[in-house]
Symmetry: C2
Subunit: 545 residues, 2 copies
Amino acid sequence: MRIAIAQLNYHIGNFEANQQKMLDAIETAIADKADLILFGELATCGYPPRDFLEFRDFISKSDAVIHTLLSASKEIAIVVGAPTINPDVEGKDLYNSAFFLYNGVIQHIAHKALLPTYDVFDEYRYFEPAKEFKTIEFKGKRIAITICEDIWNVGNANPLYTICPMDEMINENPDLILNLSASPFSFDHAQERIHTCRANVARYGIPLFYANSVGAQTELIFDGGSLVVSPNGNVHHEMSYFQEEVKVFDLQAVRFGHSEFEQPKDKMALIHDAVVLGIKDYFKKLGFKSAILGLSGGVDSALTAALAVRALGKENVVGILMPSEFSTGHSVSDAEDLAKRLGIKYEIIAIKSVYESFMSQLTPLFEDKGFDVTEENLQARVRGTLLMALSNKFGHILLNTTNKSEFAVGYGTLYGDLCGGISVLGDIYKTEIYDLVKYVNSTENVIPENTITKAPSAELRPGQKDSDSLPEYPILDPILRMYLEQMLGPDEIIAAGYDPTLVKRILRMVNMNEFKRHQSAPVLRVSNKSFGAGRRLPIVAKYLS
Amino acid sequence: MRIAIAQLNYHIGNFEANQQKMLDAIETAIADKADLILFGELATCGYPPRDFLEFRDFISKSDAVIHTLLSASKEIAIVVGAPTINPDVEGKDLYNSAFFLYNGVIQHIAHKALLPTYDVFDEYRYFEPAKEFKTIEFKGKRIAITICEDIWNVGNANPLYTICPMDEMINENPDLILNLSASPFSFDHAQERIHTCRANVARYGIPLFYANSVGAQTELIFDGGSLVVSPNGNVHHEMSYFQEEVKVFDLQAVRFGHSEFEQPKDKMALIHDAVVLGIKDYFKKLGFKSAILGLSGGVDSALTAALAVRALGKENVVGILMPSEFSTGHSVSDAEDLAKRLGIKYEIIAIKSVYESFMSQLTPLFEDKGFDVTEENLQARVRGTLLMALSNKFGHILLNTTNKSEFAVGYGTLYGDLCGGISVLGDIYKTEIYDLVKYVNSTENVIPENTITKAPSAELRPGQKDSDSLPEYPILDPILRMYLEQMLGPDEIIAAGYDPTLVKRILRMVNMNEFKRHQSAPVLRVSNKSFGAGRRLPIVAKYLS
């Protein structure tokens, strides 16, 4: 038996495009003599569809795709993920299901049992968990179908769940496991995925065909890396990361073969490729081509520009240099240097005159109060407004250049430098920014040395440096990581050797600035705890703040 | 036996303040000879704590409150909601629990079984459902303790759930039911709540004491209206809406009495009071006193100003009039009229010079492209930036004045008129705005007649009216309601008698503008389907768009 894995980039709600992609993959698989083709989780509608699932019209359109695929199942079995309506009155309205189509007939529908409801996942908001587990026979082989999380509770070792679907199905002596996934990227997740797939194979002694989706859906980046694991625990094949691929495997070879191929897993290379795909898909799926961003001469905007060029092409990236009276001379020269190295179009707009025209209206109302954060924010907002005007006039999307460290402590101006359609670096700490810059320059040396070596500064008041109001990033970032990712409290972080006053000040800044993050662009997620859908906090609260 | 219901306004994460409130209520209850006092759901930490629950430090601080309350339980039994750690390895880490404290001892801990995971609720993200149900005896009475949703599946009639906690506990022949709730307001919810409480009493034949929380937590407004229902189905008492109250009831009187008091339920009065509390608590709980907003002379900003005055006092509201070259004469005069009637401070800032200084920088880059939405947005962003500068300088919070109809179709400028810390009217359709204005004026005539009667216009280009680009609101709003609240698809809405082209255009506008709502202020929720936490949609999608 030959089994095709179709690792495709679905578009949420774009049923027509998803259907066409699947029909094309089916054709490829048939040409390569596949007996069965495996698609991803909720492939008909794209993942995560979120509350679109509450619209019956949306479900009907998914049903129509299944109907079309049925006609394409004469020569090949098709295993495809789609939402289905729970026929029982009791329970949630839907199941997260996998259809087994063959010979123009729905041979079997399997439902997902383990519904992740944590971090970025809300599956129990929509779906009823499966209660019954059955395998299906096809061409003399017995097949166990699982959906994503279903294989992440190997022998009930995962404390989150009380059911292990494969422990149920193994009683029917299946010959192989299929898994339909939509498993989002974080820089260490591919390794966990391989570990989990191997643990399944070790327990059940049969091959596993794991089809992941690929492509970015706003903040979530699906990295692909679909897997075929042999019963001896060898990774028979790990499919490509960050791109679509249809590949056919011979079951006999998988069962007894020894070949092994895994993708390389360099942290910065993975983050780089993830973010580039994240930008690319944000634009493509929204129907936009070109990006605009402010170039400050600093490292964050330089990195964002370089990544945008790799995602969209240099002809589709415009840089705007907006020096103020507080900008140092090198701000403009470094940014110009960058733009020239990248080969992108750039413009210089001095913000002084606009800033002054604001101030001449505002000064009479300011009651002789001195220069404070108001004037700093005003400069940032003039820049944001200029960028949005150019974005509106030419149909560019504005890229946000904030990094995770700044975003965490609220070191940024709402409606100013926090503007943008998508946050490119918002899940990358400042200390990691430098590593990523190094990686970018190792592939093509585009980011100027001076941009990398100078001290970070917002340049919103004379001689300002980030370190005036923030600790140095090598101290800040570990504290943020302990709080944001390990959910440690102040006592535990202090016990790790950090200054109590500093720790309390930082956690307070994080919590007090929740309102800014609430109104900011979605953040391309590259870690296992990113700002956005995976981290939900009240705005009006008083905890450590 | 005398039972006190403490309907309190908790502050999320503010353990000290919540504890003090509870200690004060205990003192009041003891003075009124209560044997038992009943607090709300998750009263120690405030509801909804969201991902703060993932911090052990947060749970420890809640435990410390329970410890303090223990010492206060010598003379009175205390029933209080708090998160507890699930001691089993299996399942979610926490329970949503109710402590029964008496005589300095934890007598009993009940866990919530029915965990709402829909709309604004994410309880299964955090909590393991209760599997065991036990009553507790106190002073010769057997008490069944339930938490919020636990009583919303009367006899398993609610298809969402398969367990009915009271059906389990009734076997132990309890004498009364206690319920600890945090049940958020929507304008028709109080009636549903009474209906549900009565259905419980009808099924179990014993009195029900239902303690709701009160107070706004960012977008969610808890309305109170705690209930005591007699076994004969009479509402013995419905406590006040939108304010704190501690009230003691005699169990005998509840069991056999006939007195009945319910709060009046006028839709616009309820929405009015809810929004006023929503504004008040947003400011108070964040530690701010004063609001700023733009006054356009239109009905939305006038209504927002009037509500802000009622919430914060006229001395704490500042109106800014920012006419442009496209503003009609009456824009300023109507806004001035309003400000004078309200007795608030106001300032006039013409935006022409700032707008022109932007344009003089931008025009050379605009490549002779004509006036378009760019210039419209620019005016709105100049206004937003002026308001934010004044907000920064004086420590005001900017109020957003967008209504639900505009917000739905994206008729507003991101970083412009969509700026603001909290959206006051974002869950109120334009057609309802007029009803609410009528209600406001019926209590005190503050909103000028001309503001109410003139045709809505954004005044961003010459002679512009909303109806140039949108259908009239009496047509738009019902279409929006069918889509947003009833989740009907285009075919169903068209079948209800609306123009197919128009319906498709409107649904497309709603879906294409998700990116704006993603970056906007939290919306005070007054309906059962508001933008924000209760409606989660992907940004990069192509469904009906």
